[in-house]
Symmetry: C2
Subunit: 112 residues, 2 copies
């Protein structure tokens, strides 16, 4: 088994909320998570949240509104969004299924 | 203009080699790059390379062989691979088009 690799399957993923699964892989200081949402679309945004970890997100599938700095941006597959440390942010799902790739430094110990 | 966001277009991307373009977004310590390869498939791997930055890669489209630690893994869309600091690694494109999302900490100053 090669722990350097995480394959695209529900094996190794965890249910984080109804209709939402997360899979992850990390080095010492860099964490990548793949989140599959099957609970969209949503009429309202998720609650804003914040964390000291820096975050950059890639939209792999679906569409979302991404809220940061008092603005919302419509994000589609291939788009990226950056979240500096401590900046409140949120998403609203616009499509039935969404896949986001969230990356963080340092590690989200709350995910491990 | 919101510099927190990088949209999925060739605007803002740079040609890094014939048939290869890169787009990026970063916070203070976390960099995400989207690399579009249109020069596949390849008969042989790219040269191995190494860097002190930790790396985690997501395969957004296409298929590659990923070489690390003397092994190769066949990666498909949705797969992730982790590269610890200083570990030699390489890819071989298996499909005509490949999209990789490479993330790094600290920042790749050579990309800025």
């Amino acid at each position: 088994m090669n722990t350097n690799v995480s394959k695209n399957s529900s094996e190794g993923s965890v249910v984080i909320a109804p209709g939402r699964r997360r899979r992850m892989l990390h080095t010492d200081s860099l964490m990548m998570t793949v989140i599959d949402f099957e609970d969209g679309p949503a009429l309202t945004p998720d609650p804003h949240h914040t964390h000291p970890h820096e975050q950059v997100t890639f939209v792999a599938a679906g569409e979302v509104l991404f809220f940061i700095d008092g603005k919302s941006r419509h994000l589609e597959p291939g788009d990226m969004v950056a979240v500096p440390s401590g900046r409140p942010h949120s998403i609203q799902l616009l499509t039935p299924r969404v896949r986001l790739v969230d990356t963080f430094t340092p590690l989200r110990q709350d995910f491990i």
